[in-house]
């Protein structure tokens, strides 16, 4: 008699545990955003591991970038770490890079812009509307993504032999400096001179 009353209870408990586990699995795979950073952060970790001590002893940013370009080419630049190292909490900066990494694989320029704005936290397509909504953090994130896109174009030009190591490292180090200033919440008056210098440099290179 006792055995008969225990059996349904055990069955009930097993079914509840089983149902809860299915629910937990379902809710964890539903969030697509979490998968992207984890895969990309492993990429950034491998970048950090591949750091060569020879280039790290260089004192200036430009010298470090030039050294890496000469030794390992664009794949060994380790720019994510370089842009984030000036920050108190570099993990947030690195996770932002990891989140946006997939956007750079998109073929169309408009799709890329849509992806950047989505990751940056835009609520509409126009930058002006974000400024009106005082969404400054989104604007800063978007600027960083655009600078990274620009950097990719410089790297491509270098790989295609269109520019020298010197020209590439100077442009990239300027881009990195602007990104660092954006992350450090510098005012536009402090960022602008660097951007003007970068514009002049790129115009001269015809990238």
């Amino acid at each position: 008699m006792k055995k008969r009353s225990i059996f349904p209870l055990v069955l009930m408990l097993l079914l509840i545990i089983f149902s809860i586990s299915i629910y937990a699995i379902g809710s964890s795979t539903g969030n697509t955003d979490t998968t992207t950073p984890s895969t990309s952060s492993s990429e950034s970790n491998s970048n950090i591991k591949s750091k060569s001590p020879n280039c790290e002893v260089q004192l200036t940013l430009n010298a470090r970038i030039k050294c890496r370009l000469e030794q390992r080419g664009v794949s060994g630049l380790n720019i994510t770490e370089e842009s984030c190292r000036v920050l108190v909490n570099p993990a947030n900066c690195q996770s932002l890079y990891a989140k946006v990494a997939s956007c750079y694989e998109l073929g169309s320029g408009k799709q890329k812009d849509r992806c950047f704005k989505h990751i940056a936290g835009f609520t509409s397509a126009k930058v002006m509307e974000q400024a009106s909504a005082n969404n400054k953090e989104s604007l800063r994130n978007y600027l960083v993504f655009l600078l990274y896109d620009l950097q990719e174009k410089v790297e491509n030009a270098y790989e295609n032999g269109a520019i020298t190591t010197e020209q590439a490292s100077e442009s990239i180090s300027l881009i990195v400096q602007i990104k660092q200033k954006i992350f450090q919440n510098h005012t536009k008056s402090k960022i602008k001179p660097f951007f003007q210098e970068l514009k002049a440099k790129l115009r001269g290179l015809n990238i």
Partner: protein, 74 residues
């Protein structure tokens, strides 16, 4: 002959409770799948036509967008 008394059917409460709980859990799971998550809502909200976005093809496109966005910072 003694009329046999009909024994009242014993209600098996643990099984009924188990069925109710499982049904409730299934209901929660199904409703969770049917209602869009926050991410899905965000995607739905962002049904903005492609024409609204900048075509970031060349470095000049990037520079122009950076220029425009930089002006909007403090």
């Amino acid at each position: 002959m003694k009329k046999q008394m009909k024994k009242p059917k014993k209600i098996n409460w643990p099984i009924i409770i188990a069925v109710i709980i499982i049904a409730l859990i299934l209901l929660i799971v199904i409703s969770n799948k049917l209602t869009p998550s926050d991410n899905e809502k965000e995607v739905e909200k962002q049904q903005i036509p492609d024409s609204e976005y900048t075509d970031l093809q060349t470095s000049s496109d990037d520079l122009a967008s950076i220029d425009e966005t930089l002006e909007l910072l403090d």
